[in-house]
């Protein structure tokens, strides 16, 4: 007989650990790879700062590949609780079973735990990483009565976008001061063009025009846009163009509509796009 409670375990999320086998395409912006490796050997957690779509997650995949460690990514959201990270009891077949959360799992297997957009998580949640993020490197699991010690290979990384202006979405000092921080910015024109060309196969000339458009939208940041077009959006637009979509239409769908819902801002971005293409 299948007890209804048993279905809980079937739905329960097993932390996804991923060993990245093929080298992800990544263009270093500066010395971030050396910095991360140094932090890794010194067992210091890392905070990646930067606007959305500038390559933070891709960088983590690249590092995981380079260090040959499994990568566990947690996308943080405002309902993320401590139990979601550490683990919880589930009931199956008339007994309770402890299931590790992604953070505990990463500690156990000595992987890289990457908390994406950590400011989105509830503030009380971020506190559970504190003992892991200083030199104690432990994860107390009170409910399970276990104290996990992180092996040398374990590394904690999180990303954070300082561009959000909401006061509610700021990282606590007690959290941020446990990390070394690597700042990411949009790559410069030559590099960004190389990235677009390599990722999509678009011709260099059109790629440069796309980047010019990105610069124009980045000018609008703070004047009605929260962020300018990211490298990721440019890659999306370039992919659409490669599939035969006309440049103006590609920019409309991949850039303008992705950046804003405001009709006037949409129109302004479309006007900018049609000025270039």
């Amino acid at each position: 007989m299948m007890s209804p409670v048993a279905t809980l375990s079937a739905k329960s999320p097993q932390p996804e650990a991923r060993l990245i086998e093929r080298e992800p395409y990544y263009e270093p912006l500066g010395d971030e790879i050396a910095l991360f490796e140094a932090a890794y050997t010194s067992q210091i957690p890392v905070l990646l700062k930067g606007p959305t779509g500038c390559g933070k997650t891709r960088f983590m995949e690249y590092i995981a590949w380079k260090l040959k460690r499994p990568l566990i990514t947690v996308s943080c959201h405002d309902d993320l609780t401590a139990a979601d990270l550490v683990g919880r009891y589930l009931i199956t077949n008339n007994e309770t079973v402890w299931v590790d959360g992604p953070l505990a799992h990463a500690v156990r297997i000595g992987g890289i735990c990457y908390l994406d957009e950590v400011v989105e998580a509830r503030k009380d949640t971020t506190v559970v990483i504190h003992p892991l993020a200083d030199d104690r490197r432990i994860l107390p699991m009170e409910k399970h009565g276990e104290l996990l010690r992180a092996p040398a290979e374990f590394v904690l990384a999180m990303s954070y976008n300082p561009g959000y202006q909401s006061v509610l979405k700021e990282l606590k000092q007690s959290t941020r001061q446990r990390f070394i921080a690597i700042e990411f910015a949009y790559p410069d024109e030559a590099l960004e063009s190389k990235i677009i060309v390599t990722e999509t196969g678009l011709d260099a000339n059109t790629a440069r025009q796309l980047i010019r458009l990105a610069h124009l939208t980045r000018n609008l940041k703070g004047n009605g846009l929260d962020e300018g077009a990211s490298t990721r959006l440019l890659v999306h637009a370039a992919k659409l163009m490669q599939r035969g979509i006309a440049p103006r239409a590609a920019c409309h769908s991949a850039i303008a509509e992705a950046l804003t819902d405001d009709p006037e801002m949409l129109r302004a971005i479309n006007e900018l796009a049609s000025s270039i293409f």
């Binding site: 209804p4 609780t81 609008l220 006007e271 049609s274 000025s275």
Partner: protein, 707 residues
Amino acid sequence: MSTDPRLTLIASGPLTTADLDDRLDALLNPVLSSRRTAAPLAQTLAPLERQLQDFVLNWVEVIGRTNYEMAYQFAAAAPDALKQLDLASAKAWVIQAMDAYDYEGLYRGSQVFKNFADYAALAGASAHAVGFEEVVHVLELFVCGLAGRRMKVEPAPQAYTDTETLYLPLRVASRMTKNENFLIYKSLAVLLWAQSRHGTFNADLDAACATYADPARALEWLNYLETVRLEACIARALPGFARDAASLKNATSNDLRYAVLELPSATVHDSIALLAKLPLNAEVPRHTCMATLRPREAAAARASRLAREKDGLQTMLAALLEEHDKTSSESGDGEQRFSVDVTEAPGENGSLDFELRLDGKPMAPPDNVHNLLDSILQDLGDIPDDYLTPTGDGSERAAPRAEQDPADVWKGIYHEEGALFYNEWDHKRRHYRKNWCVLRELDVQPGDGGFVDATLKKYAPQVTQLRRTFELLRGEDKLLKRMKHGDDIDFDAVISAYADMKSGRELSDRLLVKRHKTERDLAVMFMVDMSGSTKGWINDAEREALVLLTEALEILGDRYAIYGFSGITRKRCEIFRVKRFDEPHGDVVKSRIAGIIPQDYTRMGVAIRHLATLLNAVDARTKLLITLSDGKPDDYSDNYRGEYGIEDTRQALIEAHRGGIKSFCITIDHEARDYLPHMYGAANWTLVDDVSRLPLKVADIYRRLTT
């Protein structure tokens, strides 16, 4: 006698000259004299149909509320204009004239009335016309994207720029489709942007033209040459735009004389040099989209911008230097330590790139420094050494500016500086009066700090009760049991479910517990009537109410702000800061509450617009605007009293509502039910009929409102 257009159906024949004379005489009295009477107006109006007569009289009355001279000009122009315009176009014509009046004053406004023939020509294509209001926001964003800094876009009869503001025409209707007319707007904006981006004003244009016999004509030619040069620049930077714009041109002129201007290296000096070789008496060629040059305005704006930016740059560099010396052991001597290398940017045509060096080593400047350098570079083409000399103590501060005392407004020292402008709704015109109200934020002069303590003592038993009530409201963590989704297992539920299962009953799927925090994500703005009519015990009651209210709010932890409002006439609307959102409740706020004193009148619309703007800047799920008032909106002279004020206030509240703000009014006016339901909505107000009970009531009303 009524001007209500609905009555035209009942009314029979046209009004007689005598009737019209009487009516106009009454409506226009302030601008009539023994030499200028209403009689000629009445004579030209008399032959018109009754419907048209009523149209004219109605608008004379409406315009007269704004300005009698405008009303007179309208009455004078209307009979002829109505021969050419249908009523809908005529209405648009009046609105445009009033807009011109609001923006640019009486002369421009009356010009629009006088030049109705121009308007009639435009109105022919009116279905496709594009108005300034339609495009201003889009163009502002568009230009901001291009320029990397916010440039204002303002209406003007001719397109020109002073390098800070782009002036564009009020209306474009020269093409047969809306798209093309918009493209003309866009082209003008791009051209004006290019004038400042590509350095048209980097040379002294007036001096360059002054050497010619006819400087005005020389300037026109220079404008043409610059347009040719800039169009080439634009075509390189914005190929897509250039392609679109080409469709506007009738024919491309391939004049080889101008070829030199189309080179990427061409500057304004090439245009000036070319000027000498041209036959200046010849007709200046026209492009579809051409702006005008106003070198004097541009020079003034540029000079003040450069001075400001030089100051800002020097201060920021000082800060950079201080930080640098703190972190590095080597410290430079007193000589010039910053330098800038300017290079041609790769890829982009003709634009400049630069590198900031400190002690010879390149450094990455912070964004604000980078932007300043970029802006100076755009103006000067280079960074002069004296700009790179750090000055000041490097602390984060604004450039010292003489503090302006808002009280000096009426002493004639300055008039509209440092003030905010708000539109006001004219319900008769069914349009906004542009930038009609001049508003300033002032601080309340702190009063006797003992007032707050005395009040708390006076109401001590009630305050204890109040605190208890509000403590119960405070959001706290709750453990919700028997949930379908949750963080943990609800063992009680599991056990009973297990028992149910064993006994063959149906199972519940609610087996989890969930921690739920009920957050009061609320921001509330209190808008306190500080008009003269509150003098005496009403004012005392208001202040006491605020004391008790702040006690309660501090317990709840809701974000709140308190502002007073008053003013006299539209030119002097005042908002008094008692407590800002980001200000903690403390002695300063207490003494400001005590210092609330009755001032002048109650122009509510502009106060609501301003406070709604402040409230909108706060990030909260629920935003509440609560007004404490003692009567109808009212102001000295200019008709604010009565229907006009009520309608404007209502409109301001509707605007606030669109922004997601809920409004509520607490009043002590017994006649409130005559007008408050119309302004705030049937359920959004309450009357406290006993002033002495106001202090206790307000906190109580707030509690009811927010639970």
